[in-house]
């Protein structure tokens, strides 16, 4: 009976819902600090909570209340959603189970959704079968399954309301990202940058799943939804036509990557969505050059600002023209309001894969700040603020060094000084908080041929820890850190060294706390102003998920998925070689495998009852 009932509700929803209903519902939920309604906490991507029941003075009392095993062994990215209905919604990596857990009853399973997916999708997921989580709006949950099916579920029953095909795994396309609901649309990107896919961002009707628009990351302007007379670049119209086609040799743009697999943020006032695109096709830059010279390979590694209703690009900023290091530009675009040179600006801040912290004007895409947050960064000396282009260091240019040449000691590694793990922003401190990687690489490009559905990589990569900063206070034996970053000054406020790359999403709260997880499995709370560690708890497995918070029946909870994996698990399980030890050395930096094992678990924390 329940089944028929929920279908009836769905049918009513179809008939009467106003166009912007879902949007209004989601905005309302985001404004209530008791809820955590989107993966990034709000449309602006701030991962900030006004809740302060758990605070600097009492966080040492924080206790695990209950745990829940997902029964899935792969890397658990993303985090739980709470939308005020007494249930916590969580998801898993492939097979992408979704659970509704009863908060009244310490995680009793209200319903489970487990799709039946073709397991042949697994080998085309480059770096583990991760999924970055659910989206919610107006009684519906949305998940992008690994096999490219975008699914809408009834949040009361878990019943499937609709399904849409977002890609083709036989071409190497998969889904890993979390969708975002904006207006009456579900916005969804694609993964597959290591398979020569042609990246795209797509909007589906929230009620029916029907495709509304699709904007590609490369190719002619029509496909990219660029108007060269209107779309801005560094505050001016682009001017030239079809740069997404002409900045590539031959037809290379057709396998030109630019997969947007990270996060989408949204400014409801400007009515613009923001996201970044991934690496351009093959990792061998030689195959993307024109007449032996670097070509921009637009619009890979580019921030797009688009109209969510039509997909039209309002402005673009290419962070890395002609990538030579796999510096995917997908990291979250934090929408923050800042004062710069005495003027209020609508800012967009990125702690980027490249090792640079960017600040842009989110109205027109003007570049305001580009400074290194990872001091070892050496692929570029700085950004030319006039042209918005990096000044590349020839010594670390894998293109200048050449095909079949092993360019050594490039920093950061292809994993990025920060990968997709989303940062937090506190409007009180004006600082961004992020887990980062302190890892460098050797990179050797080689000629590769494109075959649909086969890896299209064309470079070998080996990694090593970043060099020590200094003898006294340096990074010895450390491969990551958690930083507080001033996006306006372009400098670090403080930094906490960690043994491994920090691969979890951060949380900032009005309780003067910042939270993050470590690859060993610790959840840590630190003083938001000083970085002093105030509390830690060892979860059963490494944390690559995001720390979320919510309030239920008067009590504030902190919740996180643990379950090691992702690229971090692949790269760091065995430990990295010590670059000082030379070839064939037995001494390696700490192996993650010595600290943690697989297994997905949700842990929910709160203060003990008074």
């Amino acid at each position: 009976m329940l089944r028929e009932f929920s279908y009836a509700i769905a049918a009513i929803g179809l008939a009467v819902s106003a166009q912007a209903h879902a949007n209004e519902n989601l905005l309302e939920l985001q404004e209530n600090p008791e809820y955590w309604a989107t993966q990034l906490g709000n449309y602006q991507g701030n991962r900030y909570s006004e809740l302060d029941q758990i605070n600097r003075d009492n966080v040492d009392e924080l206790r695990a209340q209950w745990q829940f095993s997902t029964g899935v062994l792969r890397g658990h990215e993303g985090g739980p959603l709470y939308v005020g209905d007494g249930k916590l919604y969580i998801h898993t990596p492939f097979p992408n189970k979704v659970f509704a857990l009863d908060l009244e009853d310490e995680g009793r399973v209200v319903w489970t959704h487990e799709p039946n997916q073709d397991s042949r999708v697994i080998p085309v997921m480059c770096c583990d079968t991760v999924n970055r989580g659910l989206a919610y709006a107006d009684g519906r949950l949305f998940i992008g399954q690994a096999d490219n099916t975008l699914v809408a579920l009834d949040s009361e029953s878990g019943e499937v309301l609709w399904e849409a095909e977002n890609g083709d795994h036989t071409k190497g396309e998969t889904n890993t990202m979390s969708p975002l609901v904006v207006g009456d649309k579900v916005i969804m990107g694609i993964s597959g940058g290591e398979f020569g896919v042609r990246g795209h961002m797509t909007a589906y009707n929230v009620e029916t799943g029907e495709q509304e628009w699709r904007a590609y990351s490369n190719g002619p302007d029509e496909d990219v939804k660029i108007d060269p007379e209107e779309t801005l670049m560094l505050g001016e119209p682009i001017g030239e036509e079809d740069l997404g086609e002409t900045t590539w040799p031959d037809d290379e743009w057709k396998r030109g990557g630019g997969a947007p697999w990270g996060w989408v943020t949204y400014d409801p006032e400007l009515d613009l969505i923001y996201y970044g695109t991934g690496n351009p096709g093959t990792w061998n830059p030689d195959q993307r050059a024109i007449d032996g010279e670097p070509a921009d390979n637009k619009w890979a590694i580019t921030v797009f600002a688009r109209d969510p209703d039509t997909g039209e690009a309002k402005w673009v900023y290419q962070k890395v023209p002609f990538d030579e290091w796999d510096y995917d530009g997908v990291n979250e675009n934090q929408l923050i309001d800042v004062e710069i040179d005495g003027e209020q600006r609508k800012g967009l801040a990125i702690i980027d894969r490249t090792g640079f912290g960017f600040l842009l004007d989110r109205e027109n895409g003007e570049l305001l700040v580009a400074e290194k947050f990872a001091p070892e960064t050496n692929w570029a000396s700085h950004y030319d603020m006039e042209t918005g282009r990096p000044v590349v260091n020839e010594e670390y240019s894998t293109f200048r060094q050449g095909v079949d040449v092993n360019t050594t000691d490039i920093c950061p590694t292809a994993m990025g000084a920060k990968n997709m793990q989303p940062s937090a922003y506190s409007p009180e401190t004006g600082l961004l908080y992020a887990g980062i990687n302190r890892i460098c690489m050797n990179y050797e490009p080689y000629e590769t041929e494109y075959t649909a559905g086969q890896p299209y990589v064309g470079a070998t990569l080996t990694m090593m820890p970043a060099p020590q900063e200094d003898e006294e206070n340096g990074m010895e034996g450390r491969m990551g850190s958690f930083i507080a970053w001033d996006p306006v000054k372009g400098e670090k406020a403080w930094e906490i060294d960690e043994r491994f790359a920090v691969w979890s999403g951060a949380l900032a709260t009005a309780g003067d706390l910042a939270f993050y997880g470590t690859l060993e499995g610790y959840l840590k709370a630190v003083d938001i102003e000083t970085g002093e560690e105030l509390w830690r708890f060892k979860t059963p497995s490494g944390i690559i998920g995001n720390v979320n918070t919510f309030q239920y029946e008067g009590k504030q909870y902190i919740a996180v998925l643990s379950g090691v994996g992702g690229w971090a698990g692949i790269g760091l399980a065995a430990g990295l070689e010590d670059p000082e030890e030379g070839l064939g050395a037995v001494g390696a930096f700490a192996a993650l495998d010595d600290y943690t094992k697989l297994g997905g678990v949700l842990t929910v924390f709160a203060l003990p009852d008074a």
Binding site: I122, T460, M463, G565, A573, L583, D593
Partner: protein, 171 residues
Amino acid sequence: MFATKANTTEVGPIRQIGGKWLMLSLGIMGSMLTLMSAAIAEDDGNDVTNYTVKDGKVDQATYDGYEAYTRVCQACHGPDGLGSSFAPSLMEISETRTLGEFVATVANGQEIQPGKVMPSFADDQYVMNNVNNIYRYMKARAAGDVGRGRPDVIGDGDDKEASDSDSDQAE
């Protein structure tokens, strides 16, 4: 010379692999490629696993194995054959599987348990041309004769050895 019997409806192409002939038989069961057989004919007594390590340097075939591993296998199996959170150590696999079994798994792929899938590389000429070399490199790694990282090749750069700090490191 050995051969395993194929109980399959379809016989795949004959490919030359690292100087050896490999006959691949790909069986279709349901919608998946399943491991049916792989037969390897040894052309002489020169065992493909008979790698050479001299002053820390390796023979060309072992080096080619390192390169192929790093290009293709590392993305799942981790650096230097050590395994990862996603896929097992091929060093360990090479100790418990024969070359024939190793080649068959690479060619046919396998599904170990739901959600744990090894893709088929039968259509990847580069991998199939180097599968013997990958096995050889893994054997050398498993025996402890070749360390982590990129090995040097015997005969390469001997004239500048004195100035190359890496080249004379022994295992």
